[in-house]
């Protein structure tokens, strides 16, 4: 391995409408190595790769990119691919109804004057499949392949483009162990053939196994970059760098008044809705007490949201098994309606997609989950509906001229307050809040923390799912860590540190509680 860099990115800066995603990121990748990029959700890893590959065209970011000794600034993916930079996204981008061969050469067809040469296409596809170790007929349609094999088709496609730098974004997040192992072997193999790889991953075990160098990004800045052959290149060091920011955000004071266990989930298992052999949540057991705020920490794809949604009216997954108990009695939550009637509430992670009717006003959104409370003989009491909504507007400090304001026009923080109002109005005993402060400014975050504390003070059981560890530590009385669908740790507030949580969150499924 020689030591000339194939890629250098210097002082990359990227803003979105005034929000800084990348403050100052630098990256140097040596030719022929496997370079891992680590960071928390939202640290800026994917943004950086989009800057590199031209998804964000040159001119929309600041800084310098040098690839193979030449200064570059790609304006589209086509341009970066022409130079041999290929990115494989976490969500695979294959066309399911086309064959493997057709997918490999999609947009790059082997043809003479527009007529495809199928013989050569299939022959070359077969050669590429052999290179990635996929034993399938090139004429097989992609939808017949599992995710792991589809991943390999993506890599074959990259190889067909004479890839020099292969970027894999969370390549094993959706794979089972066997497929993951195969993929890692393949990446090793490609390294021997002189192909440089960048791998974005949360899984420290994998990084240790395969990476030559690791760069850690936090809050849009490069923290450090070191060779994995250094003696102090440990998992602990990576974790420290990933989370090591100050607990700068403030949390409103709260005096916890914790009662009996009122919510309990036993042996909860969920399979993936499409890939029905894949366990997404594996035998989860947890409890929540009255007046307690319980955090769930997990990296993206760990199964946090899947766990919550499967409990709330089986809104996710298939073959769901396990029991839910409230006040010691088993309850059914087979439909959303049933879950609500049994006193559950779930504020979704993506409030725009799953939480709000954005073309509706505040009033119809606040009443949406508990319309029955406002109805007599099938007729909605609009008068009371507005009054209820208005009382929440005042209580939650929703900044809108009136409750007939359209929710789509509110800021993220105010939208989130509408979502919370909706669920509080449904009168639940157990609230599951999935990423309650995502995309919200600091001031509104503080208000929402206050609301969450208030709910706990009323004796409700509150579950908070969050990617922000300082938030979980600042808010929760107790935190469960989830990794690869398995609860891997339970940490009391007093013992909770980001390092400790991150250790559990990256532990993998062999470390079940």
């Amino acid at each position: 391995m020689n030591n000339t860099p194939i890629l250098r990115m210097d002082n990359i800066v990227k803003n979105f409408n005034g929000v800084t995603a990348l403050k100052n990121v630098s990256l140097e990748v040596t030719r022929g190595e496997v370079h891992a990029i680590c960071g928390e959700n939202g640290a800026g890893k994917s943004t950086l790769m989009k800057v590199l590959s031209g998804v964000y065209p040159a001119g929309t970011y600041g800084g310098n990119i040098v690839f193979e000794g030449e200064q570059v600034g790609y304006r589209s993916i086509n341009e970066s691919e022409a130079d041999g930079i290929v990115i494989i996204h976490q969500e695979l981008a294959l066309s399911p109804y086309l064959s493997i061969a057709e997918n490999i050469f999609l947009g790059n067809e082997i043809s003479t004057r527009g007529v495809i040469d199928w013989n050569r296409t299939n022959r070359e596809a077969a050669l590429l499949l052999a290179r990635v170790g996929l034993d399938e007929n090139p004429a097989t349609r992609v939808l017949e392949l599992g995710v792991g094999k589809q991943q390999l088709v993506e890599i074959a496609k990259a190889l067909s483009k004479q890839v020099k730098l292969l970027i894999l974004d969370e390549p094993t997040a959706a794979l089972n162990d066997e497929d993951s192992a195969h993929l890692l072997t393949l990446i090793n193999h490609l390294r021997e053939q002189g192909i440089t790889s960048i791998i974005i991953s949360h899984k420290l075990k994998e990084i240790r196994q395969i990476a030559d160098t690791v760069t850690i990004i936090r809050d849009g800045e490069t923290i450090e970059s070191f060779s994995m052959s250094e003696p102090d290149a440990t998992e602990a060091r990576i974790i420290r760098s990933m989370v090591g920011r100050d607990l700068s955000s403030l949390f409103p004071p709260r005096e916890a008044n914790i009662g009996e266990v009122i919510f309990e989930v036993r042996d909860w298992s969920v399979y993936h809705p499409v890939d029905t052999t894949r366990l997404v949540v594996d035998g989860a057991n947890f409890t929540v007490r009255a007046g307690e705020i319980v955090g769930f920490a997990g990296l993206m794809g760990a199964g946090r949201t899947e766990l919550a949604m499967s409990i709330f009216g089986r809104s996710y997954g298939t073959n769901i098994s396990g029991t839910v108990l409230k006040d010691g009695v088993e309850i059914q939550t087979r439909t959303v309606d049933e879950a609500i009637r049994n006193g559950l509430a779930y504020a979704t992670e993506d409030r725009k997609k799953y939480g709000l009717n954005l073309i509706g006003d505040i009033a119809v959104n606040v009443s949406a989950a508990a319309l029955a409370k406002l109805v007599r003989f099938g007729v909605i009491d609009r008068h009371r509906e507005y009054k209820v909504a208005d009382s929440y507007r005042a209580k939650m400090n929703i900044k809108a001229p009136s409750v007939s304001a359209i929710t789509g026009k509110l800021s993220g923080g105010n939208q989130q307050k509408v979502v919370l109002s909706k669920w509080i109005f449904s009168g639940p005993d157990v609230l599951i809040l999935d990423e309650p402060t995502r995309g919200i400014d600091v001031g509104a975050k503080y208000e929402i923390y206050g609301i969450i504390n208030e709910l706990a003070a009323q004796g409700k059981a509150v579950i908070v799912i969050s990617s922000e560890l300082p938030e979980l530590i600042g808010l929760s009385d107790r935190i469960y860590a989830i990794s690869e669908g398995v609860l891997t740790g339970e940490v009391a507030r007093a013992d909770a540190t980001q390092e400790r949580l991150m250790h559990f969150m990256t532990a993998g499924k062999d470390s079940a509680l």
């Binding site: 809104s315 309606d337 979704t348 997609k353 009717n357 954005l358 109805v375 007729v379 008068h383």
Partner: protein, 401 residues
Amino acid sequence: MSTTTPAGQQPARRRLPRFRVNLRQYGILAALAIIVLLFQILTEGRLLLPGNVNNLIQQNAYVLILAVGMVMVIIAGHIDLSVGSVVAMVGAIAAISTNQWGLPWWAAVILAILVGALVGAWQGFWVAFVGIPAFIVTLAGMLIFRGLTLVLLTGGTINGLPEQFTAIGAGWLPGWFGELGGRDVLTLVLGALAAAMLVLQQVRSRATLRKLDLPREPLTSFWLKIGISALAILAFTWLLSDYNGTPIILILLALIILIYTFLLNRTVFGRHIYAMGGNLFAAMMSGVKTRWVNFFIFVNMGVLAGLAGVVSTARAGGAVASAGQNYELDAIAAVFIGGAAVQGGVGTVVGAVIGGLVMGVLNMGLSILSVDAAWQMTIKGLVLLLAVAFDIFNKRRAGGR
């Protein structure tokens, strides 16, 4: 809040935002008024002759009824292409049941509506519980029910319907209060009542807004709108009273508009339809039983298609296999001209009815001018396109996505 306000000072008194005039709602009313005026001039006053005004209602009743059902289908994010065929089939069954089975007229009406409901349940089943897109289910329905109509009528026509039956589409209320200067008094009284009810209802709902401290439209435009609407109702009934009085179908239409406006605005079912059209996932995650709502939307559409079948058969005085052709397209056009959004979630009963009237006035005006049928179709198509383009333009200007 102005930037010059010193820190710590109480923010200025809560200002109600300037009520944003709903251009789309006014736009469609204004469009109707302009089209009426335009044709009144082009036809040298013949458009608003009492007989023509009467025919406007009796000839277009079916579109208005179908548009009311269709607006609910479209708000929920679906479409129904089968209603024209359903109208034909229901008409055939109603005619057969009176002529061949000797059912009384009222039994035929009930049977027609039940058949409509059954058709709706059939289509609702495939859409809601099997999950086939409504476009496909109702495209199939369009063929199935047209085919069944041909089977029922074996290519012929059935005439000679009972008088009471045809009166539904082509009859008038008897002049109970006699005549005054050649005008039907009952019609004038109904017109005055309707205008008074409109004013009362509007004033009351404005008072409620005030009580709840919600934004209200400016007083001048409020009274202007009511004044013009009330005058239009009075003028309309004034003209009708000079002809044969109040068409029976007008009473039926008024009831349908009132009932369905209430259904959409004030009941759980109506709210769930808007919620599903606004964001299906959010509705599901709020506990809305989306399958059942979809099912009943189609049952309801079937019932109204059955009613439209009765009305159009009654008006025609007989059943023919080619009845109801393109009715689905008229209804869909009316709904979109009336301000419904293609993505769902938006639309009103009143809008759909006004949209239907726009189409009706266009039809009638162009016919009076003896414009060729081919050109009539072309012009209607352009009007639909422009109406939706106007809508999209409006939304973009308002900064929507």
